[in-house]
């Protein structure tokens, strides 16, 4: 294992070395970093030109200059920008927000992309499949900055306008309800009678929720409430059990339900006593605690299937804890939205935080969310498109295999076949795609940062290229290259763990 990783890392280092060499020469030969000084009308122009060319070693030919740069990088020094700023400092400021954006987008894109891809594969050639296919191609064909500009106009400005008076008109309610009905009907499928039933139930439920939201002005003061938390917790318990062991495992189900019950019981104590003094370490500790407690409950109740039951309860506990945390954010939402620096317009169009907002853990979290929301959507939309296509193709391929037939022939339930035999094998090729997708994602992030005024690495890169400034461009490239190599390595390891035919040695 270790030697496999080492060998991979060594190969990656060689690849990075060659790639940086090519990039360095490309950037160095793409123009003259002194051009803006030639335009300068400063009386000491000559001195400035000389100072800059010394700072950037411009008297050294680019091929040799690359090795000067490499020498610096090995010692942890990325050199200077044409403005004379230390790239290390600039990079430290920029990297955090970009990595945050890319990671959030990648994770969401993978989760949604896989779900959509698998759902369309299971409902191949249905209306649902065709609609999703068309949408995927459409998103795939949209220029990302176009989406971003539209998102700003409609996702932020128009949505904030609407939030000032959050009423849902009757036609909108009817439209959304019908859409949701159609969606659920196509996803769940089945014989016509069941389809119509699904359609009816989904439509009515959606309409009821929308009317409820409208009447209670839910969007102005959103909250889940103990009833909502309880309903979600019980739902989660049933769903997790259904997917992991099936509802026939009574003991497992009871374990999950009890775990959910503990979560609901903790609703008020958490909200009043624990949440006001929340911090990141505490949050992580609580999450771990929830998983451990859930696991223990499942273990003691599980009977003959201790392990499966413990796993089920632990996942349930994690989900219920998540819902509780969400409620924590919602409690502080109206305080945030009505703060003087927000002025009732929570969804942001610019930057990664509200300047000098102040605020506790929850307020800060909401602020990050409102700034991260639109850029993430913009990148995710495009990534989902390709990921869902690959997931669909891969799932279809797997479902056509003989072992799936055999599994079905054995009389295994649809759930077991899809989850245990289909999904696992379908994920293998998708893993490689995810690793390759990271490059496209970084490209998308460069553009999105530009539109949303995030001062991340994309800005660093664009400005670097514009002023023919190899050092920041190379710093950007090195960080993204390492990120790509890292994701590739993770993909390889996952690949190996999913595919029994591959042994890492």
């Amino acid at each position: 294992m270790a030697s496999f990783i080492l060998r991979r890392l060594f190969a990656a280092a060689l690849v990075l070395f060659a790639a940086t060499f090519i990039m360095y020469l490309l950037v160095a030969y793409s123009g003259d970093p002194l051009k803006e000084l030639y335009e300068s009308q400063a009386p000491n122009k000559e001195a400035l030109i000389e100072a800059r060319s010394d700072l950037l070693n411009l008297d050294v030919p680019p091929i040799l200059r690359y090795f000067l740069w490499l020498g610096g990088v090995v010692h942890g020094d990325f050199g200077y920008t044409v403005q004379g700023l230390s790239v290390n400092e600039v990079l430290a400021n920029a990297a955090a927000s970009t990595i945050q954006l890319v990671t959030a987008a990648e994770i969401i894109a993978i989760v949604i992309g896989l779900i959509v891809g698998i759902a369309t594969a299971l409902r191949q050639y249905s209306g649902f499949d065709y609609s999703i296919t068309f949408l995927a191609f459409l998103f795939f064909s949209l220029p990302v900055f176009w989406v971003a500009v539209l998102l700003k106009q409609y996702g932020a400005i128009a949505f904030n306008d609407w939030l000032a008076e959050p009423t849902i008109s009757v036609p909108v309610t009817i439209g959304l309800a019908l859409l949701s009905g159609f969606l659920w009907m196509s996803i769940l499928g089945g014989p016509p009678k069941r389809r119509w039933l699904t359609f009816g139930v989904a439509t009515a439920a959606t309409a009821a929720i929308l009317v409820f939201f409208d009447l209670t002005q839910w969007f102005a003061t959103p909250s889940i409430g103990i009833v909502g938390v309880a309903a979600t917790a019980v739902g989660a318990a049933f769903l997790v059990t259904a997917v992991s062991t099936g509802l026939r495992q009574r003991r497992t189900l009871y374990g999950a339900l009890i775990t959910a019950g503990i979560g609901v019981a903790l609703y008020y104590p958490m909200l009043t006593l624990v949440f006001p003094m929340m911090s990141w370490p505490l949050l992580i500790a609580l999450a771990i605690l929830a998983v451990v407690v859930g696991g223990l409950v499942g273990w003691f109740i599980g009977g003959n299937h201790r392990a499966a039951s413990a796993r089920t309860s632990a996942i349930t506990a994690f989900l219920v804890a998540g819902v509780l945390a969400l409620e924590g954010y919602l409690v502080w939402w109206s305080a945030y939205a009505n703060a003087s620096r927000i002025g009732g317009r929570p969804i942001a169009t610019v930057g990664s935080q509200t300047p000098s907002l102040g605020g506790n853990f929850w307020i800060q979290g909401i602020d990050t969310f409102t700034h991260l929301l639109l850029p993430t959507i913009a990148i995710v939309l495009i990534s989902i498109a390709s990921l869902s296509r690959y997931a669909r193709a891969s799932m279809l391929e797997v479902l056509g295999q003989d072992y799936i037939r055999t599994a079905k022939a054995k009389g295994l339930s649809g759930r077991t076949v899809v989850v245990r035999h289909g999904l696992r094998n379908a994920l293998i090729p998708v893993m490689t795609i995810i690793a390759m997708d990271i490059g496209a994602l970084i490209g998308g992030a460069v553009i999105t940062e530009q539109v949303f005024g995030w001062k991340g690495m994309g800005q660093l890169f664009v400005q670097g290229v514009r002023s023919v400034d190899p050092n920041p461009v190379m710093a950007f490239f090195l960080v993204t290259g390492i990120l790509a190599v890292l994701f590739n390595l993770i993909a390889d390891l996952l690949y190996a763990s999913l595919d029994p035919r591959i042994r890492v040695s």
């Binding site: 010394d54 700072l55 000067l68 169009t349 610019v350 307020i363 949303f452």
Partner: protein, 603 residues
């Protein structure tokens, strides 16, 4: 069953918790900051609190430094020079030799309690005159080749102030160490030769005691100041070397500096928060006693380069004041936003066409007749109507003078004298006649412009189409590197670009037109112009200065040197929750009166 019992216990626990908590929504401190605040969008990030170094001299820095470094003078939005007596006074003691006395007021104070005094001014003089710099020192020779760093191998006994000063202008002309008064509150400077723009030579200083603290390691403020005065008066190279190094780079930072000292302010605001490349926040300076006490507690400047993004941020309430690069679309978009005020005015830059008189690509414009013919077909009015009027509205005006901003004293006189009004509309017949007279058919004109600037690309298209009517073949010499190509012999025949005025001083006029002037890119030479420029540079009489510039305008147009087109429009939009915002054509534009701004509740 066991499980049922567990379940019951849990349910009971839940019910108990419910009752205990009393079903009330939790309430605790949100920790939000709720003081009055205003957010201004700017297109570039702040990176240096010393705007006098060649490195730090940028609008983005000077805007912020204007709020944290009080000075003797500023420009109002007329624009006219105004004095701030609550900081100090500047007196002209004698014209020959030119002697200027700077006296600081008692209300001039640093935010750490130290007074602003002669030590600060003396250090400014040392920096801006470079009179104490080690002679013939080549800073670059001592740069570390490996890292390019300035300081590591820098000789400790070398004095080098990176102010870009030259010995023939501004404080560079004050060669002798200024005299400090006994109370340490005033400084007298004697110029070695007359200098018309003496008023503008010195403004707000940097805190000398902070520089001395870092450079010389003296903690006590008064001792530090004394050490600075000592070092300068005795020309102590070793101390000065350290001081100059700190002056050069100590105030450069791109995020909150580790040392709070660097934030010490003498102006109405104080930097309190700085997120790299995102925003900088300033709070009212409690120690400030000058006359510009601000109404708004907190000012945040967000760095948003894209004009559309700035407009959307304004619409979304994320910023309150924007001054983006003006385009017709932007203005129209702003007009759709509710509850904001839009002011359109003129900025400090003017657009113009220069003709290469010598050393041109095709030699087209060596003949004054061809030059005049070309000026006759530059569609000035059409450019104004199509590109500028949609921004500024019906009041759009052509700029008719090389030297005067429209509306400034002398502008109308210049218009009358030079007769530039005849060039407003395209005169195809007149141009054809002139070309016939010169005996030239279809002359080629390669026009240099910024190909990455959409407005200039549009102007080029209009000029090309219009000049073609008179037989000119205007070809595309547009380039992104236009600035570097300016003044390059043989590269082009005519150029289209803008000159920006940063001050009302007259010493910047000469270099544009005198023979061999550094900004004379078209190899223009006229002895009459040279003589006038010479007179202008040494004439203290304001009326005479204006007369000379009017004459210059006429001579330039008679020689068909080139033609001015329009003043760049400037758009300021701000939320109606603010009052008192009004921009100035000169730097620091919208920031010039930030202390007069007030937050008024819109509801």
């Amino acid at each position: 069953m066991k499980i049922a019992r567990y379940g019951a216990a849990i349910a009971a626990l839940g019910a108990g918790a419910l009752v205990l908590s009393g079903c009330s929504a939790p309430a605790a401190e949100s920790g939000l900051d709720e003081g009055t605040s205003v957010t201004v969008a700017w297109n570039q990030a702040f990176f240096s609190a010393n705007g006098n170094t060649s490195y730090g001299n940028a609008t983005a820095n000077n805007n912020i430094n204007y709020l944290t470094q009080a000075g003797f003078w500023y420009y109002d939005n007329t624009p006219e020079l105004q004095w701030d007596e609550s900081f100090g006074t500047v007196e002209l003691e004698s014209e020959d030799p030119l002697t200027v006395k700077y006296t600081l007021a008692d209300t001039a104070k640093w935010s750490d309690g130290e007074p602003v005094d002669a030590a600060d001014l003396l250090l400014s003089w040392a920096a801006l005159s470079k009179s104490l710099d080690t002679p013939d020192f080549d800073a670059t020779a001592f740069t570390d080749q490996e890292t390019g760093e300035f300081t590591d191998e820098f000789p400790t006994d070398v004095v080098y102030f990176d102010s870009g000063a030259t010995p023939d202008s501004g404080l560079g002309l004050v060669h002798d160490t200024p005299e400090v008064s006994d109370d340490g509150k005033s400084v007298t400077m004697v110029y070695s030769q007359p200098y018309v723009d003496w008023q503008l030579a010195l403004n707000g200083p940097l805190p000398a005691h902070i520089i001395a603290k870092h450079a010389l390691g003296i903690e006590d403020g008064d001792e530090a100041k004394a050490a600075v005065i000592d070092a300068i008066e005795n020309d102590d190279a070793e101390a000065l070397a350290k001081l100059s190094a700190d002056w050069n780079s100590g105030f450069n930072y791109t995020s909150m500096p580790e040392d709070e000292d660097r934030l010490v302010s003498s102006g109405p605001y104080l930097i309190t928060d700085f997120a790299a490349d995102e925003y900088i926040t300033l709070k009212a300076n409690e120690a400030y006693e000058g006359k510009f006490a601000p109404h708004i507690e907190e000012v945040t400047v967000r760095f948003i380069p894209d004009p559309l993004a700035a407009a959307q941020a304004l619409a979304n309430g994320e910023v309150d004041v924007i001054q983006p690069q003006a385009t017709a679309d932007l203005v129209e978009q702003l007009e759709d936003i509710e509850d904001i005020t839009i002011n359109t005015g003129v900025g400090g830059t003017y657009e113009h066409v220069d003709l290469q008189i010598d050393q041109s690509k095709n030699g087209t414009f060596a003949d004054p007749l061809v030059r005049e013919a070309f000026l006759k077909v530059v569609p000035r009015q059409e450019i104004l109507d199509k590109l500028i009027a949609p921004i500024t509205g019906d009041g759009a005006e052509l700029r008719g003078s090389f030297n005067f901003v429209p509306g400034a004293e002398g502008y109308d006189e210049s218009l009358e004298t030079s007769g530039i009004a005849d060039y407003a509309e395209v005169d195809v017949e007149g141009a054809k006649a002139l070309l016939a007279e010169a005996g030239v058919t279809s002359p080629e004109v390669c026009l240099l412009y910024a190909s990455n600037n959409p407005r200039r690309v549009n102007e080029f298209a209009l000029i090309q189409a219009s000049a073609a009517q008179a037989g000119f073949n205007v070809t595309d010499c547009g380039s992104e590197e236009w600035g570097g190509l300016l003044g390059t012999p043989g590269a082009y025949d005519a150029s289209l670009f803008g000159w920006q005025s940063t001050s009302l001083g007259v010493s910047s006029v000469g270099p544009n037109y005198e023979t061999g002037g550094i900004n004379n890119m078209s190899f223009y030479s006229n002895p009459e112009v040279d003589a006038l420029v010479q007179e202008l540079n040494t004439s203290f009489d304001h009326d005479r200065q204006i007369e000379i510039q009017v004459e210059l305008d006429k001579l330039l147009l008679d020689d068909a040197f080139g033609i001015t087109i329009f003043q760049h429009p400037e758009v300021t939009a701000f939320s109606n929750t603010l009052s008192g915002v009004s921009s100035s054509p000169l730097a620091p534009t919208v920031f010039w009166n930030i202390w007069d701004w007030e937050v008024v509740e819109a509801e």
